[in-house]
């Protein structure tokens, strides 16, 4: 089975079983290892990517389901030497510690901000409730998203 879709703005195609998890296709077939697996059952959010702009857990998405659609992973944001403002906000506020939940956290936050999300802490906490982090206690992550929200609204 050949399945074509867009990943980070680039046309890609996968040949193999349609029930292969999107997570495995990204990591193993496309070498996009920024997306992490934490639980394999949609509980932890570490594998979150954007599917047509919406945050989804890629461990629960069979690749057949993304045919013709747009997928964005953490690699679409910025590079170590040129971080995206959201990543920069995480760096400044201490939103990443061990870093394993970070790509998923960033993608969920990025969907929230792209949808015009504000810097309201309670809203941000609701939005991020599906992404587990064991290091930070979340406060610095919430502050990072608040900072990014203020910045993007200030710009726009």
């Amino acid at each position: 089975m050949r399945i074509a879709f867009t990943v980070n703005g680039r046309r890609r195609s996968f040949s193999g079983p349609g029930m292969t998890r999107l997570l495995d296709v990204l990591r193993e077939d496309f070498g996009l290892v920024g997306t992490k697996e934490g639980c394999g059952e949609g509980e932890c959010g570490a594998c979150t990517v954007l599917l047509d702009g919406a945050a989804v857990t890629s461990c629960l998405i069979p690749v057949a389901q993304v045919r013709g659609r747009r997928v964005a992973t953490v690699e679409s944001l910025g590079r170590p030497e040129r971080l995206h403002p959201l990543q920069e906000a995480f760096l400044v506020e201490g939103g990443a510690q061990c870093g394993i939940c970070t790509p998923g956290m960033l993608m969920t936050a990025s969907a929230y901000l792209r949808a015009g999300g504000r810097s309201d802490a309670a809203r941000i906490r609701r939005e991020l409730a599906g992404n587990l982090c064991r290091c930070t206690g979340y406060e610095h992550i919430v502050r990072a998203v608040q900072r990014a929200a203020r910045r993007s609204r200030g710009r726009g």
Binding site: V33, V74, G94, L132, R134, C135, E139
Partner: protein
């Protein structure tokens, strides 16, 4: 002091950009040519003999590498404190999920699928599943100070309590994983998600009968550890290596969440009994403590977990008469091991609950009771350690009370609870804890840690230590300590990735020791470098060009000059192993926490409304990282208090997934206010002490105290779930 101010600043996380952009390489992110994936066949029964293993005929076993105990070239044990744990079970199994054999295949899913085609025949034996039934004691301690029985007989009041603490899962978001391969020269390389590269090297040595020079252990970027990657990587690295040896190819083993939760170590469950006596004025006169911990099937680190638990069992209080009896026993359950706090969260929970009960019995405010008994400079702990300096306990208590508005909140909660028609009960709780930094007793002497700074001929300044970065900020902190010591910008310092061929053994990354112990060594090493470069006569270069020039002078023909510092026991610190007396830790950190919460009257769900913590961790090297460490520890402590419990049935964890073993989310974690109230320690680098474990100790007793304040009920077992609250309410109303 150097001109630049680096220590005390919130320097950004060094490896942050790589982690934030998905460029950081965790062990599963490495692509290794020709790599096979390993899977582990585990026992399904808690205790019994292995009669035989049957490989299903007709299954394509030729595609697989299979390794059993027979394939181990050296000793079949995982060396740690003892050598009782087999790498692979041979004749008998002592716990469910015990590894029996390993298979590997180029396709990950096929490796796991093969396990379904192997049958193990067991002769099942009666299993010991609860520590109270066990007669096999791994380790016990006895501490006595003063005249406990006489003091109890004379005391004005005595409160008694029994507390039960559950298994807790470390729940790092990256599961345990390792890769291993053999180099053409016969060197075994293990790459893993791990805290202690030299522990792995030590464990691999007898299994493969190879000299240290042929064993290389490299830390991959590690997605959280919390103790769960202290000793367990010894097992998984050795498993991967054994398969690699059999297959002649690299092998990677990455546990899925279910396997990781069900098979790897947890926090030790404990049953703790306390008798606490005081006079009418609220001064402690006696503490009589009995501790029972469940070690699981093998010794692992249980003796030292028990030791730390024992040494923290009275709380940070001055009491003239103390008796502590503790033991950790064997059961036929998966071995328990290191988890942030290392025995102290269990015993401090019990100790602090006793203070709350005592306050209630005496009719004294819990804050006032703590003020009367808190340790101060000159106080003596039960093992005879007199606290001389850096004793911030009273100060953190006051800072916490003031910043949280503890008394005002307590009055407001009481008013809320008196009013009619409220949907909830509200309460405030307070707790105060201490946590010793570094290995217990003579531990640091036995470790004899070494750390170095080196200057290469090209002028690169490198920090060399085996202390790992797993999220807590080791590399950033080390960079700050060395840069400040030399008076140079931190960007000029590179911190080497832990790799046993490149860095000296600075000891394991555990026990809140990285900043205080290894940081001190690095500061000493940096001083030596500074002196060699020119001492006072010639200022240390502060630019890359200057470093290059200095490096050429210093190195001559050599590639690099390395300055290594070795741990020396500070003057005046003494510990007697045989008597179990003396200075248990060089220094203690302290934390006080106040929490306000509410309990829903219909669902009994608990919501934390406000949380304030004050901590004395000595000088704060990096406030942002320290605050992050503290908040993260608090969240784990809130999970321990309210949510987390591994449930076992016939020795098997039944809720080995995040759906059923719930850890706090953004919605379970409140906004936190953290204040640092430093009492610097003269021998810590720039006055710093330890921070990692401290915040794990304090939330559970504070939460349980607040629940008592809200409901008027003591719930002595963790976690305090809605079910437990509802049951306690029902018992009270006689339903």
């Amino acid at each position: 002091m150097p001109r630049v101010a680096i220590v005390g600043r919130s320097a950004r996380r060094r490896e942050g950009p790589e982690k934030l952009s998905g460029a950081a390489r965790y062990v599963d992110d490495y692509e290794l040519p020709g790599c096979l994936f390993g899977a582990t066949l585990r026992s399904t029964i808690p205790c019994g003999r292995i009669r035989g293993i049957v490989f299903e005929p007709g299954f394509p076993w030729r595609e697989y590498a299979v390794a059993t105990a027979e394939d181990i070239p050296g000793a079949n044990h995982v060396a740690l404190i003892e050598t009782d744990q087999p790498l692979l079970a041979k004749d008998r199994v002592r716990h469910a999920m015990e590894p029996i054999l390993l298979v590997a295949h180029p396709v990950r899913a096929k490796a796991y699928a093969a396990l379904e085609h192997i049958r193990v025949d067991y002769e099942e034996e009666r299993a010991v599943l609860s520590p109270e039934e066990s007669t096999k004691v791994f380790k016990s301690f006895f501490i006595e100070r003063g005249e406990v029985d006489a003091a109890l007989a004379r005391a004005d009041v005595i409160v008694e309590g029994e507390y039960r603490l559950p298994h807790q899962e470390q729940a790092y978001i990256e599961t345990n994983g390792a890769a291993a391969w053999f180099e053409p020269d016969g060197t075994l390389v293990a790459l893993g998600s791990l805290q202690c590269p030299y522990y792995v090297q030590k464990a691999l040595q007898p299994i493969f009968a190879l000299p240290e020079t042929k064993l290389r252990v490299i830390q991959a970027v590690t997605g959280g550890g919390f103790g769960g990657k202290e000793e367990y990587p010894n097992v998984i690295c050795a498993h991967a290596a054994l398969l690699a040896r059999k297959a002649g190819r690299p092998v990677k083993i990455i546990y899925d969440r279910g396997e990781d939760m069900a098979a790897t170590t947890k926090r030790h469950p404990a049953v703790i009994r306390h008798r606490t006596a005081a006079n009418r004025g609220g001064r402690l006169v006696a503490q009589d403590v009995e501790i029972l911990m469940d070690g699981g099937a093998y010794v692992t680190l249980s003796p030292v977990v028990l030791s730390r638990g024992t040494l923290h069992a009275t709380g940070p209080y001055d009491c003239p008469n103390v008796r502590i009896r503790s033991r950790v026993v064997a059961t036929n359950t998966p071995p328990n091991g290191a988890f942030r706090g290392f025995g102290a969260p269990q015993t401090l929970f019990a100790a602090e609950m006793q203070m709350e009960r005592l306050a209630e019995r005496l009719g004294i405010d819990p804050l006032a009771l703590r003020r009367r008994n808190v340790v101060r400079p000159g106080s003596t702990l039960p093992v005879g350690q007199t606290l001389r300096e850096s004793v911030g306990a009273a100060r953190v208590l006051e800072a916490c009370a003031r910043r949280s508005g503890y008394r005002r909140r307590a009055r407001a909660c009481a008013r809320w609870n008196r009013a009619r028609g409220r949907p909830s009960w509200r309460g405030v709780g307070l707790a105060l804890v201490h946590h010793g930094a570094g290995f217990t007793g003579s531990g640091e002497v036995y470790l004899g840690s070494r750390a170095a700074v080196s200057l290469t001929r090209e002028g690169e300044l490198r920090v060399l230590a085996a202390s790992t970065e797993m999220g807590q900020g080791t590399t950033t902190l080390f960079g700050q300590i060395v840069a400040q010591t030399l008076g140079i910008p931190a960007e000029l310092v590179r911190v080497e990735t832990p790799d046993t061929t490149r860095v000296p053994n600075s000891g394991p990354t555990v026990a809140s020791r990285t900043c205080m112990m290894v940081g001190r060594l690095l500061r000493e090493a940096a001083f030596e470098l500074k002196a060699a470069v020119g001492g006072r006569a010639r200022p240390f270069p502060t630019t890359r060009a200057g470093l290059r020039a200095a490096a050429r002078r210093l190195c001559g023909r050599a590639q690099e000059r390395r300055f290594e510092a070795v741990y020396r026991k500070p003057e005046g610190v003494a510990w007697d192993d045989a008597a179990y007396r003396g200075d248990a830790y060089e220094a203690y950190s302290f934390a006080a926490m106040a929490v306000e919460l509410e309990v829903d009257k219909t669902t009994c769900e608990v919501t934390v409304r406000d949380l304030t913590l004050a901590a004395d961790i000595g000088t704060v090297i990096n406030p942002l990282l320290a605050e992050g460490q503290v908040m993260g520890g608090v969240a784990q402590g809130l999970g321990y208090a309210l949510l987390e419990s591994a449930v076992y049935e016939n020795g098997v964890m039944k809720n080995a997934r995040f759906t059923d073993y719930t850890i706090p989310t953004t919605l379970d974690t409140p906004r936190m206010q953290v204040a640092f109230v430093p009492s610097p320690y003269s021998l810590g680098p720039f006055g710093a002490k330890g921070v990692g474990e401290l915040p794990m100790d304090v939330p559970a007793p504070a939460v349980a105290a607040a629940i008592h304040d809200a409901l008027g009920l003591w719930i002595p077992d963790l976690p305090v779930t809605p079910e437990r609250i509802a049951a306690a309410l029902a018992r009270r109303s006689g339903a």
